[in-house]
């Protein structure tokens, strides 16, 4: 030991060098993987957006019109001169440092491919500073309002598009009948039961709904004539939203406001339906996007204006939109050479193609959305059911106790089985034995549900376990049965945690490729699927297929765009999960 060389009467000298070297070595190891991943992500972003061909003028234009106003907004929201000084110092000092370092490396050491010092500055300095300022800004009142509004707009559009996609495979006529015969009466009964405290009516809601849905499926083959699509969607989507809006506002007293809350959405929805039909956008998708974007946004704006705090923040979406438009105008007016990104609107709306310029991801995106929607339902139900059983319904000892331990060990082992083996299960059991078809959405989602089931269960168990026991005992003491305790106390408390875990698990499912290959999912399909039993492709399958193409345009352009699309969706899902968790933790 280092103290051995103690001399005479005083304390020994201990060399600090080894300790410091070790500390920095371990710090280096901690960030090594992250740095490697960061560099790779920078390159894939450069390839996807063709930034290697972006002229410095183009970068400067958008830096000035988009990034600078955004940073200004964040700094304004933070309202802290120290942070402002630090941010400006980092941006300015970083500019000098990166430019000097980059030029020196290029001149003396090695030529860095496809990277200019402007891009390096953008990724090494501007991106982290923006991230940090976004975080700091979102903690201020103005920033919280701005990002809240932005999140509702972006999230609403994303959810709306995803839900609209589902209508591509589900028969909207069945939906129409099921809604009219099942959902509407059930909702009515339930509402009546809650309103009048009539227990029987409320508990009859579920059976009535189920009977209605079954009747709808049966009647679909019998009835021959239906109203037009637009009327169906107005009736099943716009009318209930308008009605709920009117009811909620009426509950607060004002009759005219209630009429407005009901009438305005209905009128807007009708107009949108007609307009979208004229513009070639599928009517239901436009309606759904409008509903899930417009309603929360309107409510949020109303609440913020009522509260009167941070109203300036509502301008953030306008600021960003104005920045994009101003940048585009400048680029257009002065003829600044602009890059030609692979990832653009046509990429996500077109089918795959042999020519790289025309290749698109649309059918694969649709496939992924549909598979994930099914997986979400299946794994949520199975996962929550299992975790409730394991946490609430089993005893710690005796036969049941050892059964529980067996289940627990089994779940841990299931989590460690390679995904390709789950693919074999899907192939042997679902595709071949049960005849659900090779590479169909049903086979794929069953397989992926089983794959992520262990993760869902483990996270749901943790969420349920974190509910304090006092709450359970309190409920028991009031004479509640186990199911009543579970339903009324445990599940509401644990729900945010369960949801977070499920979304994170779904993030795993959306990137899985090996099981899809094993069950024979198509590498490339040229049109979006129209039924659950069609042969599907999914985003990772399409990336896998394209990565094998020999042309450089595919390898470096089209696949990079696909990777970025997949990663953006993943970041969106995981970000939502983390936001949910943070909000739940703050709530407690």
């Amino acid at each position: 030991m280092a103290t051995d060389n103690a001399t005479g009467g005083g304390f020994g000298e201990v060399s600090r060098l080894r300790g410091i070297a070790f500390e920095y070595l371990s710090l280096g190891a901690s960030v090594a993987g992250l740095v490697a991943l960061g560099v790779l992500l920078v390159y894939v972003a450069i390839d996807a957006f063709d930034l290697a061909n972006a002229s410095p003028e183009w970068l400067l234009t958008y830096f000035l019109t988009l990034v600078v106003p955004f940073l200004g907004f964040c700094l304004y929201s933070a309202g802290d001169p120290a942070i402002t000084r630090r941010a400006l110092g980092a941006l300015g000092g970083g500019l000098v440092a990166v430019a000097a370092l980059f030029t020196a490396i290029e001149a003396f050491v090695v030529d860095i491919p496809r990277l200019s010092w402007q891009l390096a500055y953008l990724f090494v300095v501007v991106a982290p500073v923006t991230g940090y300022l976004t975080y700091v800004g979102s903690r201020g009142r103005v920033g919280a309002v701005g990002f809240g509004l932005l999140g509702r707009l972006v999230g609403g559009v994303a959810v709306g598009l995803a839900v609209g996609t589902l209508f591509l495979v589900f028969d909207e006529l069945v939906w129409f009948l099921a809604y009219t015969l099942g959902v509407l009466p059930a909702a009515g009964l339930y509402a009546y039961g809650r309103w009048r405290d009539a227990d029987r009516a409320a508990s009859a809601a579920l059976p009535v709904g189920l009977v209605g849905v079954v009747a709808a499926v049966f009647l679909r083959g019998v009835i021959a004539t239906y109203p037009s699509d637009l009327i169906i969607y107005l009736w099943t989507l716009a009318v209930p939203i308008a009605a709920v809006g009117a009811l909620v506002v009426a509950g607060r007293g004002s009759r005219t406001a209630a009429a407005a809350a009901g009438g305005v959405p209905l009128a807007v929805a009708t107009a949108t339906g007609f307009l979208a039909g004229g513009l070639g956008v599928p009517g239901p998708t436009a309606l759904i996007v409008l509903a899930v974007t417009g309603v929360p946004t309107a409510v949020y704006v109303h609440r913020v204006i009522d509260g009167g705090e941070g109203v300036v923040g509502l301008g953030l979406p306008l600021l960003i939109a104005a920045g994009v438009i101003a940048g585009a105008l400048v680029v257009e007016a002065w003829g600044v050479p602009a890059p030609d990104p692979w990832l653009d609107v046509s990429y996500v709306t077109e089918a795959p193609s042999r020519t790289p310029e025309e290749a698109g991801l649309y059918p694969a995106i649709v496939g992924s959305v549909i598979i994930i929607a099914l997986v979400a339902v299946l794994s949520f139900v199975l996962g929550v059911g299992t975790s409730i059983f394991l946490e609430e319904y089993t005893a710690g000892s005796g036969l049941v106790g050892s059964l529980t331990r067996l289940l627990q060990v089994n779940i841990a082992n299931l989590a460690a089985i390679p995904s390709v083996v789950y693919g074999l299960l899907g192939l042997g059991l679902f595709a071949n034995l049960l005849g659900l078809g090779f590479g169909t959405a049903v086979t794929a989602s069953l397989t992926l549900s089983l794959l992520i089931l262990p993760i869902t269960i483990i996270s749901a168990q943790e969420a349920i376990r974190s509910v304090p026991d006092d709450l359970r005992r309190g409920s028991d003491a009031m004479g509640a049965t186990r199911w009543q305790t579970t339903k009324n106390v445990v599940l509401p408390e644990a729900f945010p945690g369960i949801l977070t875990g499920t979304i994170l698990a779904l993030g795993r499912a959306i990137g899985e490729t090996a099981p899809l290959i094993m069950i024979g999912a198509a590498t490339t399909v040229f049109s979006a699927p129209s039924s659950l039993f069609n042969r599907f492709s999914a985003m990772p399958m399409q990336i896998y297929a394209w990565a094998g193409f020999p042309q450089a345009e595919f390898r470096y352009g089209v696949v990079a765009a696909g990777v970025i699309t997949l990663l953006i969706i993943l970041i969106g899902m995981n970000g939502t999960a983390i936001l949910l968790r943070n909000r739940a933790e703050r709530g407690n």
């Binding site: 901690s30 992250l34 790779l40 059983f389 060990v409 299931l414 042997g428 090996a514 990663l567």
Partner: protein, 324 residues
Amino acid sequence: MTDSTESPDLQRRSGLRRLKEGTYGGLFAACAAATLLTTVAIFVTLLSDAVVFFQEIPIAEFLTGTNWSPNPAGGGQAFGIIPLLIGTLVVTITAAVIALPVGTLTAIYLSEYATPNARSILKPLLEILAGIPTVVYGYFALVYITPALKATLFPEMSTFNALSASIMVGIMTIPMVSSISEDAMSAVPDELRQAGYGLGATKFEVSTGIVVPASVSGIASSYILAVSRAIGETMIVVVAMGAQARMPAVREAAFGIPYINPADILLESGMTITVAMVQIAGGDLTGGTIPYDSMFALGLTLFVVTLVMNVLSDIIAERYREEY
């Protein structure tokens, strides 16, 4: 709670109520049983087709054969798993060389050196490494790592090679090592550290001489889990390593001592067990052929190996854990 209006049923005699309770309990039990059924289904599915395969190809031939060509152009199939085992082993070992030291150092940093603030930022960031889809890692290896290595270190490297795939598998498994090891290190009680400091040890000596030995069972079990994850990794190797089942060339050193040059394996294309399965799945899936059944034999091998490693890791974590 709507039931509060009714009179309490203290003896739980109400038939409907008990039926309801029982139904929900049964439903949850059924969900739990589904997880058990999944394991059984995996085992039965793998075994039933693997048995058919082993009726055609004897197990000894499967385990000792040095040639893997399930669908040769000219006929004459061969199902020897040895080249696949070599490919899997190479990827696993190379990945472990990256992931185990880096992961352990990361765990030491997070548990001993990092400030709470740094830890709260680093830990979720590290989880990102495990959350990136593996097909994306494979693409990175093929399109960025291989050209970079070719331009700098290994000019003779082939487009599809084991090295860049293994590097990516290693990076992917870092968080697996670091998070489980860190849990084990954080569980070491502070008294042990304080005792170390009391004896005059430096922070470095406490970290490496006290915390690491005290948490060695957790570290070992994290190693095993990471290695088992690397064995089952599919998409990275499928995309970046190519699909050539080869035995490495045996060279002769001075005095005729045979040796294998690692570069012959690492810088060339190869095939792992998982790649072999994916390659067959790209061909025919309807069943009834020997290649189809061979997939299940390979899957069974993989299943057994990962299961054994997982159980082993559990046993090590339990049996050799220091109790405080």
